[in-house]
């Protein structure tokens, strides 16, 4: 099942800060606060929350909320 924005939003707040509001079309490029350090934070939050782990390729591939949701969907199914 594809995780929803409302499920992902708290994890973004935790990792990126209170201003990190996301929509389905949010991308890393369009969100300066989503830098590499915060990306690690986010990966950690996601791994802890969904009890999954991402490999190197996946971590690099996550460049938007949409790709993130797709990758999670595959993992969770």
């Amino acid at each position: 099942m594809k995780p929803t924005i409302s499920e992902l939003q708290p994890l973004f707040y935790k990792a990126l800060g209170k201003k990190a509001e996301i929509t389905e079309s949010t991308t890393r490029k369009g969100m300066p606060i989503w830098d590499s350090i915060n990306h690690i934070s986010l990966i950690m939050e996601l791994q802890d929350h969904f009890k999954v782990s991402f490999n190197t390729t996946e971590i690099q591939k996550i460049d938007s909320v949409n790709t993130l949701a797709e990758i999670l969907e595959k993992k969770l199914s």
Partner: protein
């Protein structure tokens, strides 16, 4: 409290967590260094004035350092502890673990620990009065490698830890930081019933209390053993118990406890309140209450003492062995070793270290660089490497004269138009760095030569490679009677190392024919 961390893993998240759990009381500046030794040898003590503690962390499992590197790190640590005598230096003990022979070499299943080969180096380190060890290994062991490491983020972002690992590390670190900057404890005051032994002597009688190697009394037995060691380390032991003194004295006489009645320097066994008793002990010993640890099983007593004497460290004793272990590990029970003999020993060690540093030829940064046996391979217009060079123009931030990005097509075009692209590959005795440097030279409108850009990857910085590379290029141009007349330098948020270098060279006429101007 101000911490300066030098680490070969990305420290941002660790610093953030330290800030968050200490509510900002511990502020942590940090520098990420791929090559910690070079950084340590080039530290300028005056730049670290504002910091209380220097924390040095190298994750050996992730970086897999050769044994000779370990030895050099020991020497660099000794040197810095001598340089920064007024600072506390905290070093992760990931060091000693990596003295083990890398498994790649011995894959036939025989573990081979070579740590003893370097025991003298480790011994020297531990002899330094201002150098302390952060027990990274025990945290790793308690969490387990699988839950501790995330090699994917390590590979991509030099951040090899899970959030669980960071939390555990930071908790211990924050405690140890606090311990390092506070006066150490001198007096341990303990309760008797359900603390020194199991049971209540006034109700259960002598036969009803336990402190022995049977299951019922074993933890209390171990606690007494623990206190005995603390006494040998120099702590003063006292009793503070609501009991009849006669009963307690009888217990010590009849039972063969680890601790004897005389091991306690002062005994307050009466029905007065415990805060008053502890205050009396403090007055009798002429020691401030901030030097006191008070251990009791009774929450009410602990709260009462906490309220009346807020400087006393109050610790609850429970009948749970896990709690007992964490009590054991508390920093309040650790001495910092400042006995006179220890100090003398330290002086001897430092002298010995200075001698051996001279012998070993890396007592200073120049000698150290020499010992690295750096080899530079410089090529002009090497088309085959354009892909990597283009990547460098995007990724290099610190040593980058103007942060202009080029695709490999743009670089090819640059050469076609008569520009010169010098690329640099570096290796030293520890291994290959790959392509790390790029200098671009082009002709301006009036046929003058412009240093269009100069990049150096941060793993090569600090070893005078940046001087050597530019020297070579300048000399190569001079062979054809060519001189650089201007340099395109643009300040960015991150290119401070490049700016420093630019300021150093811009007026050197052996580099440039005329004083360089910023375009």
């Amino acid at each position: 409290m101000k911490i300066y961390a030098i680490s070969d893993v990305t420290f941002d998240l660790i610093a953030k967590e330290i800030d968050s759990i200490s509510d900002g009381a511990i502020s942590c500046s940090f520098s990420y260094e791929e090559d910690i030794i070079t950084k340590l040898l080039s530290i300028d003590p005056s730049e670290l004035k504002e910091f209380d503690i220097i924390f040095i962390h190298s994750d050996q499992i992730f970086h897999s350092r050769p044994t000779e590197w370990q030895k050099q790190l020991c020497n660099a640590l000794l040197r810095i502890s001598a340089q920064l005598k007024d600072k506390k230096i905290l070093v992760s003990n990931s060091l000693s673990n990596a003295f083990k022979t890398p498994p790649l070499k011995f894959s036939f299943g025989k573990a081979f620990d070579t740590a003893s080969l370097y025991s003298s180096e480790i011994g020297l380190l531990l002899g330094q009065a201002n150098l302390f060890i952060f027990d990274f290994q025990s945290i790793l062991t308690s969490i387990g490698e699988k839950n501790f490491y995330n090699y994917a983020t390590g590979h991509l972002y030099q951040m090899p830890y899970t959030s669980k690992a960071i939390k555990a590390m930071v908790e211990t670190l924050a405690n140890q930081f606090k311990w390092l900057v506070t006066e150490e404890k001198k007096v341990i005051v303990v309760d008797c019933d359900n603390t020194l032994w199991k049971g209540i002597i006034g109700e259960d009688g002598i036969k009803g209390i336990f402190c022995d190697k049977d299951a019922e009394g074993i933890m209390y037995y171990h606690f007494q053993e623990f206190l005995k060691v603390k006494k040998e380390e120099g702590f003063l032991l006292c009793i503070c118990s609501k009991n009849n003194e006669k009963d307690v004295k009888e217990a010590f006489d009849v039972k063969n406890f680890v601790l004897k009645w005389e091991d306690f320097i002062i005994r307050k066994i009466n029905w007065n309140d415990k805060a008053a008793n502890i205050q009396e002990i403090a007055t009798e010993l002429n020691v401030g209450t901030d030097s006191f640890i008070f251990i009791d099983d009774n929450k009410f007593e602990l709260d009462f003492v906490r309220n009346m004497l807020p400087k006393v460290t109050c610790i609850e004793f429970t009948d749970d062995y896990n709690n007992f272990i964490s009590l054991n590990n508390r920093f309040e029970f650790k001495k910092k070793l400042v006995l006179k003999e220890d100090l003398e020993k330290t002086e001897q060690y430092i002298k010995q270290q200075q001698r051996s540093a001279e012998e070993q030829n890396y007592g200073n940064i120049d000698d150290f660089i020499k010992s690295l046996e750096i080899k530079m391979d410089i090529r002009l217009n090497d088309i085959s490497d354009l892909e990597r060079l283009s990547q460098m123009t995007g990724k290099t931030n610190q040593f980058n004269f103007n942060k202009e990005e080029y695709t490999s097509e743009m670089l090819e075009h640059f050469i076609d138009k008569g520009g010169k692209i010098y690329s640099l590959k570096v290796s030293d005795k520890f291994g290959d760095y790959g392509t790390v440097g790029l200098i671009m030279i082009k002709e301006g409108n009036r046929k003058e030569l412009i240093l269009e850009n100069y990049l150096m990857s941060c793993r090569a910085l600090g070893k005078k490679i940046e001087d050597g590379f530019l020297n070579y290029v300048v000399e190569d141009l001079m062979k054809n009677k060519l001189y650089i007349s201007s340099v395109k330098f643009v300040k960015t948020v991150k290119n401070i190392p490049a700016e420093k270098f630019y300021n150093k060279i811009k007026n050197e006429t052996n580099y440039f024919r005329t004083t360089a101007t910023i375009l």
